[in-house]
Structures are given as structure tokens and as C-alpha cells.
């Protein structure tokens, strides 16, 4: 429950492995991670050489409709090099070997840490917008986000809510969903640990925040339909709004505050 601390953390981790050849902004950008895909589509769709395949999954990606019209590439060095990108954007972890190979070929790689609160979102958006040479668009997105956030009730005696994900994972302090809950004027009933169904029922929150139902079942997602939970008030948020942080995270807060 310390957004300032999270922002500092984001700032420290944010700049990693930054290689810039020229001072010009990139024109052929490839994103290899779902979260950076979405930011790229929002900020500079005309500069996209390719996105990761997950960007087209409507269950996971906020920008799925736009991504349908854009090229996608798997995170293999060969496929990526064939597109002659002048910048690659990726998350801090993952695709290690691919990115190492690309760096060997002197392709600039930018690793962006995933933001965990709204201050982090602002930082990440500005960094990315300036790297892509479109700082104004970044500001436009953030102005819209802040406007949405202003309209929401401020933290006070908020509803005690719990974000409960399949397999008992909860969103504890310092996570994105924690920031979203606070933005919606609620308090977070979780301390970050996993809780079982029985533990949940023993100390039920006032509101259960769950992902919207998946198109196809799994044991984890169908657990959310257990009859024991029927009497607990719940709000469902599409995973596309909660998996990655971005200006659209304010929409998640708005859905909760309604």
C-alpha cells in the first residue's frame, strides 16, 4: 500500500540495456511482449514492424482489434532480423537468448519494466513516447487517464475488496491491481499471499474482484463458479485491463467504482 515506493522502484529498474546508434527516433519497431505491444499500438502504430502474437488475443489484449491489422512475429532472432527493425522493445525478463543474439547484431534493444502503479504508468508512457519520438501523444494519453482518475471517488472509508485470481492468487500491496483498487476508492483486503477457497470464506471481503469468465473452462477458472461463492458480491474485470499496465488501467478503476 505504498505507491510512492513503487514509483521509486520503477524508476530505478526502468532504464536497462539501452543501446542507441543514432539520435533519430526509430521507424521500424518490433515489440516482443504483450504489455509493450499495447503501449506501442497506443503511441505509434505507424512505426510498428511487428508485435508479439498475444497482442491479437481479445481475452488478454486491450488492443486486439487493432493488432488484427498489424503484423505479428514470434520471438525468434531469425524471424525478427528478417524484418530489419531499428528498435526492439521487450519486458525485463524473457526471450533472453533471442535478445542477446539481436544485441550481437547491433540492433538496439529497450527493456521496459512493467509498471505497478499509476506513477509508474506515467513514467513508462513518457519514456516510451520520447524514445519513439512522439512525446505529445504520450502526454495526450496521460491527460485522458488522469481525467478519468480524477472523476473517481478518493480513498477514504472504501469498500474492502479482494482481487482473487484463479489458483488462489491475490493482488497484494505494491501491485497494479492494488493501485487500481485504491484509485476506485477501495481498500485492499489482501496481503499478497495465496489464499484457498476455504480461507477466503472464513474471512470474506466485502467485494470480490475476479476476471471475467474465460471462453473455455479450466479447473482454475471454473473454481470462480463454485457454489460456495455464490452469495459473495463480486465485480468482474476483463483480464485485458489487468494483465498489463497502461493508461487503460484507469478504465479498470472506473469499472470498479461504478
Amino acid at each position: 500500500m505504498r505507491p510512492k515506493r513503487a514509483a521509486v522502484w520503477v524508476a530505478c529498474v526502468c532504464v536497462a540495456q539501452f543501446v542507441f546508434g543514432a539520435a533519430d527516433a526509430a521507424e521500424h519497431v518490433i515489440s516482443l511482449n504483450l504489455c509493450t505491444d499495447q503501449m506501442l499500438v497506443l503511441l505509434a502504430p505507424e512505426k510498428i514492424a511487428a508485435l508479439s502474437p498475444l497482442s491479437r488475443d481479445p481475452a488478454l489484449s486491450f488492443v486486439a482489434p487493432q493488432a488484427e491489422q498489424l503484423p505479428v512475429v514470434r520471438a525468434s532472432a531469425e524471424a525478427v532480423l528478417r524484418l530489419h527493425p531499428d528498435l526492439i522493445i521487450a519486458a525485463p525478463y524473457g526471450a533472453q537468448t533471442t535478445l542477446a543474439l539481436l544485441q550481437q547484431e547491433h540492433v538496439p534493444v529497450l527493456r521496459i519494466a512493467l509498471a505497478q502503479d499509476f506513477a509508474g504508468i506515467r513514467q513508462m508512457t513518457r519514456l516510451l513516447a520520447s524514445t519513439l519520438g512522439v512525446p505529445q501523444r504520450g502526454e495526450t494519453l496521460l491527460i485522458a487517464m488522469d481525467a478519468l482518475l480524477e472523476a473517481l471517488p478518493h480513498p477514504g472509508h472504501g469498500v474492502r475488496a479482494l482481487v482473487w485470481e484463479p489458483r488462489g492468487l491475490t493482488a497484494g500491496p505494491g501491485t497494479l491491481m492494488d493501485a487500481v483498487l485504491h484509485a476506485a476508492g477501495m481498500t485492499n483486503a489482501s496481503d499478497g499471499s495465496r489464499i484457498s477457497l476455504e480461507a477466503l470464506l472464513r474471512h470474506p471481503p466485502e467485494l470480490l474482484v475476479v476476471p471475467t469468465a474465460a471462453a473455455y473452462p479450466s479447473l482454475a477458472t471454473s473454481l470462480l463458479d463454485h457454489p460456495a461463492l455464490a452469495s459473495l458480491p463480486r465485480r468482474a474485470i476483463p483480464p485485458a485491463l489487468t494483465i498489463c499496465a497502461g493508461p487503460f488501467s484507469a478504465a479498470a478503476a472506473a469499472m470498479l467504482a461504478r
Partner: protein
Amino acid sequence: MTLWLALLLAILAALSLLIGDATLALPDGLIFWQLRVPRMLLGLLVGGGLGLSGAVLQGALRNPLADPGLLGITGTAGLGAVIAFYWGLGVAFPPALLVGGLLGAGVGSAFLLGFAGRAPSGPSLILAGVAVSAIAAALLALALTLAPNPFALAEITFWLMGGLADRPLWQVALAAPAILLGGAILVSLGRGLDALSLGEETARSLGVPVARTLRLAAVGTAFAAGAGAAVAGSIGFVGLVVPHLLRPWFGERPGALLPAAPLAGAALLLAADMLVRIAPLVLPLSAAPPVGVLTALLGAPFLVAVARRGAP
């Protein structure tokens, strides 16, 4: 002796209702009826079905290593259930999960007993079962990899190791008639299994319909063990261990084991389930391990001991 076993089972069932994850107390109504009671009932039904199938399979195949898990029947049941569940067939038609499990178990059972007819010797039968089990597990992993829901593959431990937790009461109610039907079929085979002790031809000369007895053993096992596996995953070794635990008390006549086998199987599974629920309190575990882990850890050395005793 059977009465003592029933008493033990009643005590274990009552204890099971008191143990939650990380607590030992009587819970409130909702938790009790929606979580503890289904878990206890499932343990009774699945454990009973496994114990009885194990006793019948060992008698029918004249093999002390026979077990519905080892012979691949719970594996094929799990495969059928996975295909029905993860592709959403259960959404429109809730019993699809059970039907998938029963069909899968039926295939495994039929293959096994067909094979047993041609090569009834002990080791080759077990090898055939192991092959079926391995194929079923591989196809299960493949199915989970291809499943549309991204959480599917991580759930492979549930299907291969089993679990009684968080199954809603309606699923238990769905499986119950199938397991009880299978149990009724299996329990009626006592006379035939006794005659089979002397070999299939001698059993026929005693007037026992051997082919029908084996077929009923296959069908009964498919229902009793397969329905359980569809809801609780593939819990192994209960069917193997139960007859061996009972023989010192009840003698080696296969028919004598049948009334006690479901009681012993249920007691064994409930005890194992309670132990895995208590485990996080005494060991540095973040969550209770699947119950099949415990039955495998105890059952596999048992299997080795039995196999060595029988080896020339």
C-alpha cells in the same frame, strides 16, 4: 473385522470434516456443507471405488499387482474427462465430464481385458497396463497443451496426481451413482473370482461364466474407478494396496475381500487426504500437496515389495 473397519471409517469421516486447510476446528455452515462435506463424500466414494476395483482386478486377473491406476484405467478415464472438460462440453451439458471419464475408462478396461485373454501371465499383463498408462498420460499432457484455456497445462498435476479439494457438491452427486453402480456390479463377482483362483478352465468346469465375469469386472471397474477419476483425477496405488492390507485378516480368498475392500479404500484415502491437509502445518509447504503424491509415496515402495516377494 468388517465391523471394526466400518467403525474406523466412520471415525475418519468425522475427523475429515473437522480438518480444513491450516485449521482444526468446526467451521461455519457454508464452509461445512459446501467444502468439507463434498470433500469427505468424494473421499469415501473415490476411495471405496478404487479399493473395490483393486480387489476385483487382482482376483479376476489372478495377479497381486493389478490396480486400476497401474493398469491404465484411471489414466484413460482422466484423458476422457480432460477432453470433455477443457473443450467446454461440460458447459452446455454438465454430465459431459463424467461421460468423458466413463468412456475413457471403458476404452482402457476393454483393451486391458482383451489383452488379458491373450496373454494372461502376470508380468506381460502389468507391462500392457503400464503401456496404456503411459500413452494415456502422454495424450493427457498433449490435450492440456492444446487446450484453449491458458491455465490448462498447469493443471496437469491435478489430473495425474489427483485431488479431492474444492470439488463442488454437484460434481460429487454426479459421480456418486456411477461409482455406486460400479460397486454393486463388482461386489456381485465374489463367487466367480473364487472359482477363478483355480484357473479359467477349472472355473468354467465349476459352472462359472468366466467370460461374463471378466467383462463385468471391466465394466464395474470402468464405472467405480473411472467415475472417480473424472472428478478427482488419477489417484494411484489405493487399489493395489487395499487387498494386500486385508489379506492377513480376511484370508486370500478373493471373494472374502470384497465386502471390506471399499471400506478399507475409503479409509485409506480419507486418511491420506487428512495428512496432506495437515502437512502445511508441520512442514514448510505453501499449500497442501495433491493427495496422489502421498498415495504414490506410500504405494510405490509397497509395489516393489510385493513384486519382489513374487519374483522367483
